[in-house]
Structure formats: C-alpha cells, structure tokens
Symmetry: C2
Subunit: 209 residues, 2 copies
C-alpha cells in the first residue's frame, strides 16, 4: 500500500503530466503529439508516463473533463447568484478565457479535430455540446417561467446560437488577438439578444440598452 507521501507525489506527477500534455496538444494538436513528446517535456521516460496514463486518449479525456468541470462549476455559480442570468454568466466565462489563450487554443483545436467520428474525443465533444446546450436552454426556460424573457422564442435554438457565437469569436480571436476582441464582440451580441428576448410588456429595442 503506498504511503501518504507516495500518494501525494503520484498526484503531483499526474498533474505535471497533464500540464505538459495540455501544452503539447495546444502546440501540436492531439494527433500531432506523441506520448514520447509529453514524456520528454515532463522529464520522464515513456514507460514511466505509461504507468500514470496507459494511452494518449486517457490523457485527453482527463484534460477535457478537468476543463469542463471547472467551467461548469464557474457558470453554475455565476448563474445562481442573486438575479443572475445565464447570458451574463457566459460573458464572465469568456472574459476568463481571454486570460488563458493556451487552454482556449487547445480546446478549439480538439473540438474541431473531434468532428471526425474516429477521433477519440468525438463522443466526449458530442456529449459536451449536448450538455452545454441543455444547460443554457434549461436556464432560459426558467427565465421564461418567471417572465424575465419572452415566451415565443426557442430556448434550444438560442442555446446553440450563443455557444456558436462564443466558439466562433474565440477562433477569430485566437487567429488575430490584436484585431478581434472576443469579449466585446460577445458582449455586443448578447446585448442585442437581450433586447430581442425582453418580454413585450417591457420596452424593448436597440435604443433601450
């Protein structure tokens, strides 16, 4: 049975490997990265790395799950704050992403690579988007229920659109950060969307922001 010290050092080692894998995937894509490259970055032998993660796929899934848990917890907390709206929470998430381009780059490349059915991240990303759309749509349905937004809009479609704008602006920002301000772009889009979603009783329209 490993001692407590051995456990802690194993955990630190796993975290160092995940960090190195994240950097390597961000620089070379998932498919362009070998386990040997990751082992090299973290100063281990390839068999030593295999002891912690038997395949590159294990590394990928762990990384994605970590990122998703962090983001989901953050959006959930933001959306639950008094009077919090889901669209505001997503804007805060985007502002946070603007400070970690490496992670956003990794996620953007992996999500795109995974559209191929054979990619080991495919099922994970299908499920991730399904869950994210569902999460946003459920919040919008709740906002409809309490009269914060109008009834005659399709929460599922809006959820897909909001996530799409998020991803698409991130891509342009990653390509040319000095040219495209993804947070300002998303903020402006969400402002227009909020006007469209405002219930008919309230004043609504582009002038009323």
């Amino acid at each position: 049975m490993p001692t407590r010290g051995a456990y802690a050092s194993g955990r630190a080692r796993r975290e160092a490997i995940l960090r190195a894998a994240s950097e390597a995937f961000a620089a070379h894509g998932y498919r362009g990265t070998s386990l040997a490259m990751i082992a090299d970055r973290v100063g281990m032998s390839a068999p030593g790395l295999l002891h912690h993660f038997p395949t590159k796929e294990h590394l990928l899934i762990d990384l994605l799950a970590l990122r998703q848990q962090r983001d989901a917890a953050r959006v959930e907390a933001l959306a639950s704050e008094g009077g919090g709206r889901i669209l505001d929470a997503l804007l805060v998430l985007a502002a946070g992403n603007a400070d970690s381009p490496g992670l956003v780059r990794l996620f953007t490349i992996l999500a795109a690579e995974s559209v191929d059915d054979d990619h080991p991240g495919h099922d994970w990303f299908v499920e991730r988007y399904r869950r994210s759309r569902h999460f946003v749509a459920e919040r919008l349905i709740e906002e409809q229920r309490v009269g914060m937004i109008r009834d005659d809009v399709d929460p599922q479609m809006i959820a897909a659109q909001v996530l799409a704008m998020f991803d698409g602006l991130q891509l342009q920002w990653l390509l040319e950060p000095g040219e495209v301000d993804m947070v300002a772009g998303l903020d402006d889009y969400l402002g227009g969307l909020r006007s469209q979603l405002a219930p008919p009783e309230l004043p609504a329209g582009p002038e009323d922001e």
Copy 2:
C-alpha cells in the same frame, strides 16, 4: 514542351491528388495525414506525387485557395443580384455547405489547427478571416450608405459576429447533424440581426418579420 494531351492529363492528375488530399485531411486532419497516405489513396508512388506537389503544405494552400475562390465568387454573385443583401448571400452559402459536410469538416479542422502560429496554414487563415470580415463589412457600409441599415452600428463588429455564428453553428452541426440544424439556426440569427439593423424610420422589432 509538353503536348496538349500531356498538359490535360497532368491537370487531371493534379485534381485527383487534390481530391484525395481533401478526403485525407478531412478524415485525419492536416497533421495526421502524410504525403504517403495521399499517394496511396490516388494510386501513385510518393515520388510521383512529389512531382506535382513538392510538400504537403503546397497541397494545403492549393486546396484552401480553391475553396476560398469558389465561396468568394458565389457570395459576390449572390450579393450583387438585384437588391441582394450580404446577410442573405451568407445564408445561401450556409445552405450549400450543408450539402458538402466533407469539405466543411476539412475547413473546420484546418482553421482550428491553424490558430497555432507554427501551422503552415496560419498566415493563410489569418488573411482569410481578415478578408472575409472586410468583405462583409464593406457590404454593410454600402447598405448603411443607401439607408438599408441603420448608421449607428459597427460594420466590422457585425462582420466578425456573423462569421463567428457561421463557424460555430457549423461545428455543432458537424458533431451532431441530426440535432443541430445550422441553416435554421443561422436563418433565425440573421432574422433577429436584420430587425436590429433596420433603420429607425422603418418599423422594427421581433414581431415585424
């Protein structure tokens, strides 16, 4: 000097290679594809393929340029038709993309991979998005000039947003085509955007579509 027949057969061979490369990149990503894999698909030896395309990068740039030329010509023609609006033209382009998921998959993966500065497609994609934003913005400025859309909106920002929505919906559609209808999603988004852009003189708002 090659005969006319030799020229024609060389051209046919180049086209066959480009087609095979397009399929291989769509299936394995740019980085996951080797020249040997492409040569194999097209039934050539690797040295035979190198005669036509000295590096994988040459293939990539040719493929991207072909795609871009086709799309730009199409959007230009649509936007120039009597009273045509740029947003309508983009919707027609999206409807066309829905019929060629292989090409869209290729483009989506390559665009995301190219956010890495070292990717051979990086400069091409930076320039491609810059040019696309400029093209859409110029059309919107023209529509502002003739009073079709309101003056107090930022054409550059709207251009970035429209392209972002386009890309983001394509990604979700590629992951789960049965679940996300990218054309309906884009159509709905553009409908809302048109209402927001309508000049104040004209009736505007979600009910007036």
